[in-house]
Amino acid sequence: MINKVGRDIPDELIGRHGVYMGAGYRDGETYTKCGVRARICEKPQGSKLVGSIREAIEKCGMKDGMTVSFHHHFRDGDYVASMVMKEIKAMGIKDVTIAASSLGTAHDAIADMIEEGIVTGIQTSGIRGRLGEVVSAGKLKTPAVIRSHGGRVRAIEEGDVHIDVAFIGAPTADEFGNARAVGGKSDCGVLSYAMADAKYADHVVIITDTLVPSPNLPASIQGIDVDYVVCVDAIGDPAKIAAKAARMTNDVRELTMAARCADVMAATPYFADGFTFQTGAGGPSLAVNRYLEPKMKAKNITMRWALGGISAPTVTLLESGLVNAIIDTQDFDQVAVKSAGENARHFEISASQYANPANKGAFVNQLDFVILAALEVDTDFNVNVLTGSDGVLRGAPGGHPDAAAGAKCCIIVTPLMRGRMATICEHVVTVTTPGECVDVVVTDHGIAVNPSRPDIAAWLDAAGIEHTTIEKLKELAYSIVGTPEPLEWEDKVVAVLEARDGSILDVVRQIKPYRFE
């Protein structure tokens, strides 16, 4: 069946939420949240501390076919997912599904377990490195399910995903399971992505390397939701969890694009006192912060809040008083981690508060602007942030589709070409963010406004900002790199990409071995 973004979804994969019918299609619908299995603890209680990860797994009654979950706040420095999965493997448990908020290069060991048939299901936002290659090669028994950060919480709350055991890495915890992300040896600032897991999983295990005296409050993960606590030597590599400070790009091309983004923002009436803003962690997206400051000062305005993944430039704006509050779901550097722990105007929120489309209003819905990157953008403004030009899984929708859908003005910033790859192209390999949610594309060779936003085009005209069509940008790119051949696919679907509302946005098939003839 062909969906709203023109992708053909095999009938046998279409589930209870159907195929993608458009942004806001389920708006106003009511539903009953999935029931949660709880356990009554009415007697006097001692410590929840157990001696090892294995003991916790045994006590949770883990069996073949179960689903376990992990969060990705430790990013490339995560030890928890691999540590737990190695123990599960050693215990001979098979047919395991991993439902993680994201997976990356720290999880090569899981790629091996897919090849060995121990892990048979993957549900995640990000999939990279060996893991992406193994899944793309068709070695996972069931198609991977890829969701946005908001879509993941929706799936948990609607019961599309049932987590049997959540293993939550926590920088600090007390022996009753109250867990925080500040303090400890492997500080990550916030635990936003683990909060839904703690509330909905049948069993919750906290894994920490820093036990602290009770009460460890205010707790990101509350002891009332926790079954067991395990203390290990190290939950992560602090150097890989957060770099010292996100590097501000010196690349003239990236800086030029960032400056153009700020110009576009300032040309809209949304750029007024109390505006709200989110930016990605990529070079040009991050550099937009630098160009906003003089524009805000000149207009004598401040930002009400900055949302999402946080790094040093946003903290600088908060400390200089140009931003009133930071609403944080992930910290990309140590400056952000420190601010999350110390600054009273820097708030930790849950992934549901951030981006879930199935609650009564997430913060993304109140965004004026979001600046996002892309691997590819096509002439329908569809964005791909998941698959490479070789068709292999190597990215993450993350909060991209959520923020794009929620913001009044979504700006994609990307170079026209990367080497011989045309970033602006005829058809993206995979649609991860539908074009109807994208308003402006800023490249190093020009700006294109989505024809669905004549208002923005008029504001740019009034401000004297030149813009062209997305087709012209594509033609310019193709005139330099040549017209790419379409990728050739096998029939087998290796990953299903869900839209925020659970409908199917696209599928990724196994790539055919290339032949030069």
């Binding site: 030009s389 070789d390 068709g391 990367r418 080497g419 011989r420 790859m421 330099i480 790199v481 040549g482 790419p484 051949e485 990728l487 050739e488 790539i511 290339y514 030069f516």
Partner: protein, 97 residues
């Protein structure tokens, strides 16, 4: 053009291509490896064969390690490798290229 030695041109930097060329006996034996193979593999093959043909090379072993080079870069690297292989250092017909 008469190839004499094995010769190379280009680098493995992004947006470049490294070409190795050596005299051959059985026509053009071409090996291509490219970071953009799925989208440009056949175009790369065609560019290399065209360039060799223009230079009048009918027998050669050619290895292409492409890192997303534009077509103009690719052709220039092949020409350079060929001239080096033929030992031609002066009198290159720039106008014709």
């Amino acid at each position: 053009m008469q190839l004499i030695n094995r010769a190379m041109a280009g680098t493995l930097e992004s947006s470049d291509a490294q070409i190795s060329i050596a005299p051959g006996k059985d026509g053009i034996v071409l090996h291509i490896q490219s970071t953009v193979q799925n989208q440009y593999g056949r175009a790369i093959k065609q560019s290399v064969l065209d360039t060799l043909s223009k230079l009048g090379i009918e027998n050669a072993e050619v290895d292409v390690n492409d890192r997303g080079a534009l077509e103009c870069t690719l052709r220039a690297r092949v020409e350079c490798a060929a001239y080096r292989s033929a030992g031609i250092e002066a009198g290159i017909p720039w106008e014709e290229m």
